[in-house]
């Protein structure tokens, strides 16, 4: 009898949880003494897999891609990582949709847990994450530059290569120590080359000057902006996708 009762209660719990459908979900995370307003877009991507993006008002997070989206009825789990810790927000939502249509559960961040509640407000509008573009053939290969910060000279090597998913870039800064900066985003728009490393909070934006065979731009390290000009260090290597 007890087993039957437990089965009935369990079944009722399942019946009380509705299935998540694609849409825009808006609501709040109830952090002690602070409410975070969030907008979550969840949709089916190509092949039927779930895709999503999130906006967190007040934390400068707009349309960040969701990852690890798991719909295992009745539980729904998804995560966001705006940049590697400790710089970026790394959080997980674990919740269920109740019969009234409310998606609620726990928001877990930095080892802390708080309840969240979201309500569907319309169709999904998932933001696509920025994609790397290819770079011009003449930009491929190794570039050398240098800059000075706080009285110390740094030598910088930039490697650009085209791959099937767009270009990749790696910057190596040699000063008192050697720092490799993997770039997450590489884009070329006309003469402009933009590189971003979210994890290290570094960026480079430069303009390719064909006549001088140089890329002239600004290296950003956190709040610091430093002029940085790259010249050819070595002949471009042929990259195979």
């Amino acid at each position: 009898m007890r087993v039957l009762a437990a089965f009935l209660i369990f079944s009722a719990a399942i019946c009380n949880a509705a299935e998540l459908t694609p849409g825009r979900w808006e609501g709040v995370v109830h952090i002690p003494d602070r409410e975070l307003t969030v907008v979550v877009d969840l949709d089916r991507g190509t092949g039927g897999a779930w895709v999503g993006s999130i906006t967190v008002v007040g934390l400068d997070i707009k349309g960040a891609p969701l990852s690890d989206i798991v719909m295992k009825a009745p539980e729904i789990v998804f995560s966001v990582q705006t940049a590697p810790p400790p710089r970026g927000l790394q959080a997980t939502f674990k919740g269920k949709v109740d019969p009234s249509g409310m998606l609620s559960g726990n928001f877990i961040e930095a080892g802390n847990t708080a309840p969240f509640s979201l309500r569907k407000t319309g169709p999904p509008n998932v933001e696509a994450p920025p994609r790397n573009t290819p770079v011009a053939k003449e930009l491929e290969g190794e570039w050398k530059g240098e800059y000075e910060l706080n009285g110390y000279k740094r030598e910088v090597t930039l490697q650009l290569a085209n791959q099937s998913q767009g270009a990749t870039a790696e910057m190596v800064v040699v000063g008192k120590r050697t720092t490799k900066i993997p770039m997450d985003t590489v884009t070329q728009e006309g003469d402009f080359l933009s590189l971003q490393s979210r994890g290290m909070g570094m960026s480079y934006e430069g303009r390719f000057r064909k006549e001088n065979q140089e890329i002239k731009g600004i290296f950003g390290q956190g709040p610091i902006e430093i002029p940085l000009v790259f010249h050819r260090g070595a002949a471009p290597k042929t990259q195979t996708p």
């Binding site: 952090i31 007040g58 961040e109 930095a110 706080n150 709040p223 610091i224």
Partner: protein, 411 residues
């Protein structure tokens, strides 16, 4: 006075508890407290951001008197000859009767201000002057042979007659002076936010030497002396926001060694004992011990969050506060954590300022360099019972203040 003696060694008689037993008492003020407590007899003196100077009974934490000033008072008082001397943000140095709190005199400086710079710490707009939210302390007076010495936001080090409050001399630096001058052998040693460290004759106010530390014209983050110096055995030890701990020759100002903390500020005033220098850092959140003669690293322990509180040593225990709202006690020799006390505000962790490991939760706190975001972030950070004060240790009792507005006595 601040750090226990005019040379600011940070070493106290007796021993601090090696185990935490209980809160003996707690005294609540009307606002955050950055001032460190000092004692004379069985009375503790400290000042609060509510603008009051307090006298509290060491035995039971009862208020003996309070005296209002014209502004917040994040300054550690000095008590000498029955008089309490303390600075306030109203730009005045107060001299109060230690028994009654009655005003003896007050001395007006050229006015207080906090360190400020264009686009400081990378905040925006970059071309606009912004106040440094981390300039949290006012100078703490030092009283020697009838003269009170203290620094001011108007850039001066002042020497004022302890009895009359009349100006004896003033020494102009290039920026805010919120460090406390250390005294040894007829000279005063102090740093300014102009990133220079000065030695000045205590009688004449004439400069003996100056030492130039690092500068940061880009974002003004790695610049300036906020730490107060310790002077012992012919050497000045002082931390700097250029991320170095310096050892300078007391006679010439020549650098003996520097210990670099890789971009992390040294706000704490170092404690010096048995040939070792004890200090802690901000961003890297480390408690460190280095050899006083060579600057060689001896110990390195994780404090989990920024430390602005200057370590206090009693016996074989060193105690300091952390901005995450914990007070940490370590073995002087091994660095082992003996005990920790966490304030209630820290436990409440409003707004998730802290991670579950009590580190600062960067993404939720410091998410934007724009407008008031940084000010709000720092305010949130300071509101979790952060401990900025340097602990006072007497007869095995540890006294300290917190931004939760309380003065604590732990045993």
């Amino acid at each position: 006075m601040f750090r226990g003696d005019p040379a600011h060694t940070g070493v106290y008689a007796g021993t601090a508890p090696r185990q935490f037993h209980r809160i003996k008492w707690k005294f609540t003020t009307g606002d955050r407290v950055f001032s460190s407590p000092v004692a004379s007899g069985k009375v503790l003196y400290f000042a609060g951001d509510d603008g009051n100077i307090y006298a509290v009974d060491t035995d039971n934490g009862r208020q003996i008197w309070k005296r209002a000033t014209g502004g917040p008072a994040p300054s550690t008082p000095a008590v000498e000859g029955g008089t309490v001397y303390v600075c306030s943000y109203d730009g005045r140095l107060y001299a109060l009767n230690a028994q009654s709190g009655a005003l003896k005199w007050k001395f007006a400086t050229g006015g207080e201000r906090r360190f400020e710079a264009k686009g400081i710490h990378g905040l925006q707009p970059r071309n606009q002057t912004i106040v440094d939210q981390f300039d949290v302390f006012l100078s703490s007076p030092v009283v020697i042979q009838g003269t009170v010495y203290f620094g001011s936001g108007d850039g001066n080090l002042y020497a004022v007659d302890a009895n009359s409050g009349e100006l004896r001399w003033k020494f102009q630096t290039g920026d805010v002076v919120h460090s406390s001058p250390a005294y040894a052998d007829g000279a005063l040693y102090f740093g300014s936010w102009d990133s220079r460290f000065y030695a000045v004759d205590a009688v004449t106010g004439k400069e003996k030497w100056r030492f130039q530390a690092g500068e940061d014209p880009l974002i003004h983050n790695q610049v300036g002396f906020q730490s107060s110096a310790a002077v012992i055995n012919g050497v000045v030890y002082v931390g700097c926001r250029d991320s170095n701990l310096y050892a300078l020759d007391v006679t010439t100002g020549k650098e003996k060694w520097r210990f670099n903390n890789e971009g992390s500020w040294v706000i704490t005033s170092p404690a010096v004992k048995d040939g070792k220098v004890f200090f802690a850092t901000s961003d890297s959140s480390l408690y460190r011990v280095v050899d006083a003669a060579t600057g060689k690293s001896l110990l390195r322990e994780d404090t989990k969050a920024y430390v602005f509180s200057s370590p206090a040593i009693a016996g074989d225990v060193v105690v300091y506060g952390v901005l995450n709202g914990t007070l940490q006690a370590r073995d002087v020799n091994t660095g082992a954590l003996l005990w920790e006390y966490q304030t209630e505000a820290s436990k409440a962790n409003k707004g998730w300022v802290l991670t579950s490991e009590r580190k600062f939760n960067g993404p939720l706190v410091f998410h934007s360099p724009w407008r008031e975001a940084a000010t709000v972030a720092v305010d949130r950070q300071f509101n979790i019972g952060a401990i900025f004060s340097s602990p006072l240790i007497i007869n095995g009792i540890v006294y300290f203040t917190s931004t939760d507005g309380c003065l604590y006595a732990l045993e």
